[in-house]
């Protein structure tokens, strides 16, 4: 811990109530109310990301006699909400990189292998090493897969080269994107932004990168040298109408053009050309800079299992079928889907994980203790929408797209420093507390 962190902490602790309230956006819960179950269930958690670790921590505490097994080959843990700040050139990759081992609770067995197969009929999962692990209850928390290669000509190794940025692939790629943004601002030209058509994690991030690029260009006195175009995948820049209206107005104010119903389908990195599928046919645009957001889908082990939706809009990408209020699998009631992999509308954010995990854990605890499960998830998700360095809008909404602000005094559609404060200073501590099942 450096002296700067100490000073940060000093200020945070001194203004304890306010700082805490801010930091806990979307993270408030009644930990003191947690119930326990003495059931000796075998619980498997597939995935050690935000959802998996948070589940492991809560289950360990609330079901002390259960056998809990966590399965994931991944050793590093990334604070993904911080990738935007890395791409803004404000944070370093080290600021968002930790070790999973530091968050696996005592008393939880961690099998450091990937899940290769789900066999819900036999109530077992098979690891990449061939180990078969039986369960009474399974939590699918594998996260999702970034499918860069679904865009013809695109490959994650291109990030940081030829004017290509993409903050999603990891901390190093987010840092390479920061450098690509800076080079673009220096050289000028046309910058393209956008998002994929399907479900995606942190749907605000493509907008944030657009705003950050605009702001950095203005600060360097180079805004006239760059043209920015946001290619929305459908007729809106954001799924929640009031947010769409606000972002559209901000883009107009800041001279960011918008193309609607443009989905990136192919790229020619050498020629710097991007081809978009549109309702009227393919459109090819030249660019000097492009921020690529890959299509996202379920990992193969999930897709190839019986767990995904079989029909409907969430079936194609393999999202796990789940009842939206309980995240329970309707065909396999001993299976729950939590986090990015859950086949529910919206909700692919850490803020959603924060609210999902207590719901599924409390319901399992209640059920195994002979009580009636009553907890429900309302689809809460949150996006501190950075609109410039030092300003953000704290946008929180539910399944229905209704804005549900946690703090009545913070207007969700107002650009405020206090919302930026939450993004820059508050979220990481809250996230880490969430991983330990404490927030």
């Amino acid at each position: 811990m450096k002296r700067r962190d100490f000073l940060s902490g000093a200020i945070s602790t001194g203004a304890i109530a306010l700082a805490g309230s801010a930091a806990m956006t979307g993270t408030m819960t009644g930990t003191a109310m947690a119930q326990t179950s003495q059931a000796r269930a075998r619980i498997v958690i597939a995935g050690a990301g935000a959802a998996g670790l948070s589940l492991a921590a809560r289950l360990r505490r609330q079901m002390p006699n259960a056998t809990i097994t966590l399965i994931d080959a991944k050793k590093e843990h990334h604070f993904q909400p911080g990738f935007t700040l890395v791409a803004a050139g404000l944070w370093r990759p080290e600021n968002v990189t930790e070790r999973n081992a530091d968050y696996v609770p005592r008393g939880v067995e961690w099998i450091e292998e990937a899940v290769a197969e789900f066999d819900p009929q036999a109530k077992a999962v098979v690891t990449a090493g061939g180990r078969r692990v039986a369960y009474d209850f399974l939590f699918v928390a594998t996260g999702l897969m970034l499918d860069y290669r679904a865009i013809a000509g695109m490959d994650p190794s291109l990030i940081g080269r030829n004017g290509i940025a993409s903050i999603y692939a990891g901390p190093a790629q987010a840092a390479a994107s920061a450098a690509a943004i800076d080079r673009f601002i220096e050289t000028g030209g046309l910058g393209l932004f956008g998002r994929p058509a399907g479900e995606m994690k942190c749907a605000g991030a493509p907008l944030k990168v657009t705003f950050i690029t605009d702001d950095k260009a203005r600060r360097k006195g180079r805004r006239d040298a760059v043209r920015l175009i946001y290619n929305a995948h459908n007729p809106a820049v954001f799924a929640v109408p009031p947010v769409h209206d606000k972002v559209k107005a901000l883009f107009a104010e800041r001279d960011v053009a918008v193309n609607y119903s443009h989905v990136l389908k192919a790229m020619d990195p050498g020629a710097k050309r991007a081809t978009y599928a549109t309702p009227t046919g393919d459109v090819t645009l030249d660019y000097d800079f492009i921020h690529v957001v890959p299509p996202m889908r379920a990992p193969d082990a999930v897709r190839n299992s019986p767990l995904p939706w079989q029909t409907g809009p969430l079936a194609a990408d393999g999202w796990v079928e789940a009842e939206r209020a309980t995240l329970r699998h309707p065909r396999y009631p001993e299976v729950f889907a939590v986090g990015d992999i859950a086949g529910v509308p919206r909700g692919k954010t850490a803020a959603s994980v924060k609210w999902q995990v207590p719901v599924v854990v409390d319901n399992l605890v209640a059920e195994t203790a002979g009580r009636t499960p009553r907890a429900t998830f309302n689809g809460y998700t949150s996006c501190p929408m950075v609109t410039a360095i030092g300003k953000a809008m704290l946008i929180e909404f539910d399944y229905d797209g209704t804005l549900i602000p946690s703090f009545p005094f913070i207007a969700p559609l107002e650009e405020l420093w206090v919302s930026w404060l939450i993004e820059e200073k508050g979220l990481k501590g809250a996230y880490r507390a969430m991983l330990r099942g404490r927030a």
Partner: protein, 122 residues
Amino acid sequence: MSTFDPMTLFFIIYESIGVWLWLMLALALVLTAGIVMSALKLYRADLPMRRPLTAALVVGLIAAIAATFAVPAWTLADLGALSGALDYAFAFLFALVPGAIVGALVFMLAARRCTSQNAAMA
């Protein structure tokens, strides 16, 4: 906010700053003890607390106001990021921390000076 939980707040702060939390609490205790001891010294010497207290409040407030303008930089933003009453209010609330530290130190120093002067005159 209806589900606000002090334990959650504690864990979030602890996860944000780690062991520095305990050092900060220790600093707060030391300053509080210093204020109490200084106040007791004034009381035993039958001296009024008004002057040290006024000095502490004035200097502490000035320090807090000055720190308010530094708070955005702490969040990697510039002063122009503060855009409304709410932003300024939050920045000032954060700035009260260094303001309180400065105020506590001034109170102790002023109280010490008062008691020393009183002892010299006696």
